[in-house]
């Protein structure tokens, strides 16, 4: 089966979702929701087991005898300084989700936990669980995928495709080739859906920020379409014209704005309280994160089980949807580093930033809510406007809101451009310089998918559609891990 067949199958599969969503977005969202419910109810334990296996494998690989193996030839050295390596990695992995959920997620968990726990405990539990969703487990999923891609592409010299590890480890017989081909199609499909979902969420947030600034109530679909149109123009230009390292600069600008926003909140807010809560959250997270990965809430029914499915499981599957895309990206920027450096960098630095980010934004939300300047219920009910609502309780809120809108837009544009590139590369058989035409086709499909998700007007529907598409990756990622372990064993055995 050749590359052309791969490209057409992937485009047809993605196009089917676009067509279905355009024809009946509510039907698509309902179908996705029922598939995801069934998957989470029957296999929730397996999703959590998989993330634990990935985290333990990452840690073991870093400290085992394989840790010294270089992701490239032995004489190769890293292309980027450690600072820019970590910044780029973080921008690719988290992007617009940070701005979207920074305030809303701790607030939502707090209101849920408060039904059972005293407010003080509910506050620290809500920040802990938010960091758990964005911490080591999330980055173990990205890290392992990136490690597999980097090892097979730069150490072994195979094409940058998810099928390469299968073919290298199990030969070029019809079965490994067919399984590899199927994995390539599913990877392309999952990247497209995952990315489009995050574009939709980004558009919801930018639209809500603009509506807040201009003083329109909500803004509705019309404003969403307007924002979406502007962003489409913004991402088609880099797809048509190679901007060199321009995209890296845009992504670094978005991260710089995010860090500046964090500093602004710390300095204009209750500084010592925010620093104390960050230290508190760090201790809580480091002491409990590993064991939290084994919690499946098996003895809880009803609301707790629903909460676990719609948050923890949904997040883990969301990271899986993004893993092939982020994996390719972090593999590329990590060429020349050792497995130990790679794993430690991927796990520690982004998790460290997540701890600080969510502790500060979450605690600021609780502080402002206690003083009556912010409503946690409102943050839960309209997550897209939560960050803007929180900023209103601080001085110079308009400037900060504009900064959030700019950062969110930059994250969307850089993500779509990089995703269109990765999709074009995957669908051209691993060609590192895919044609502009293929990149444009993927850019257009990502846009159409994003539009379909915007039409659903629901963040929950978007999350269900992403989770449905990422479902096969729970299995695929374990298969890739086996390929990596076999190849490493063989390499050490050959020496």
């Amino acid at each position: 089966m050749n590359d052309r067949a791969l490209m057409f199958t992937a485009i047809a599969l993605t196009g089917t979702i676009v067509g279905w969503g355009a024809y009946d977005s509510i039907g698509l969202a309902g179908f996705a929701d029922s598939v995801v419910q069934l998957m989470f109810q029957s296999r929730g334990w397996f999703i959590m087991l998989t993330t634990n296996i990935l985290l333990i494998s990452c840690a073991w690989l870093a400290f085992s005898r394989y840790g010294k193996i270089r992701l490239g030839q032995d004489e190769e050295r890293p292309e980027f300084s450690t600072g820019s390596w970590l910044t780029m990695m973080f921008a690719a992995g988290m992007g617009v989700g940070l701005l979207f959920y920074g305030v809303a997620e701790p607030a939502t968990h707090f209101l849920f936990a408060e039904q059972e726990l005293p407010p003080r405990l509910a506050a620290s539990a809500s920040i802990f669980v938010t960091i758990f969703h964005w911490g080591f487990h999330a980055w173990a999923i990205y890290g392992l995928t990136g490690l597999v891609i980097a090892y097979f592409s730069y150490r072994i010299g195979a094409p940058t495709m998810l099928s390469s590890p299968i073919v290298v480890a199990f030969g070029t017989g019809w079965l490994p080739k067919t399984v590899g081909w199927g994995i390539n199609v599913l990877a392309i499909y999952a990247i497209a859906i995952g990315l489009a979902g995050s574009v939709a969420m980004g558009v919801f947030q930018v639209q809500s920020g603009i509506a807040d600034l201009v003083g329109i109530q909500g803004g509705g679909l019309g404003l969403s379409f307007g924002v979406f149109g502007v962003l489409c123009v913004a991402y088609f230009i880099p797809l048509l014209k190679d901007l060199g390292d321009g995209m890296a600069k845009l992504s670094n600008t978005a991260i710089a704005i995010t860090i500046a926003l964090l500093c602004y909140i710390v300095l204009t807010g209750p500084t010592s309280f925010l620093m104390s809560s960050t230290l508190d959250a760090t201790g809580n997270y480091l002491s409990q994160a590993f064991w939290q990965g084994f919690h499946t809430y098996a003895f809880f029914g009803g609301e707790v089980a629903d909460w676990f499915s719609s948050w923890t499981l949904n997040y883990m599957v969301w990271w899986l949807a993004w893993a092939p895309f982020v994996g390719v990206f972090i593999a590329r920027i990590s060429k020349g580093r050792t497995i130990r450096e790679f794993v430690l960098g991927v796990l520690l630095a982004p998790t460290g930033f997540s701890i600080v980010w969510f502790s500060i934004l979450g605690s600021m939300g609780f502080y402002s809510a206690k003083n009556g300047a912010f409503s946690l219920e409102q943050a839960r009910d309209s997550a897209d406007s939560a960050t803007f609502a929180l900023l209103e309780s601080l001085p110079l809120s308009d400037v900060a809101s504009v900064a959030v809108i700019i950062a969110a837009s930059l994250f969307i544009v850089t993500s779509v451009v990089s995703a269109a590139y990765v999709l074009a590369m995957f669908s051209s058989g691993g060609d590192e310089n895919p044609s502009t035409r293929v990149k444009l086709v993927w850019g257009a499909l990502l846009g159409a998918l994003g539009l379909v998700m915007i039409i659903t007007e629901s963040v929950d529907a978007v999350r269900s559609i992403i989770a449905m598409s990422a479902n096969p990756f729970v299995f695929i990622i374990l298969l890739l891990l086996v390929c990596l372990l076999k190849a490493l064993k063989k390499e050490k055995g050959a020496r």
Partner: protein, 34 residues
């Protein structure tokens, strides 16, 4: 009842998959035998 059967079937596939992974990991490579 149908729910239970579906649940069991979905989980059996997971067990089979885990079995396949173990088999693949420990299976000797034809090249290694030579």
């Amino acid at each position: 009842m149908t729910g239970h059967i579906l649940d069991t079937v979905l989980n059996i596939w997971v067990f089979v998959f885990i079995g396949i992974l173990f088999f693949l990991y420990f299976k000797e490579d034809p090249a290694d035998k030579k």
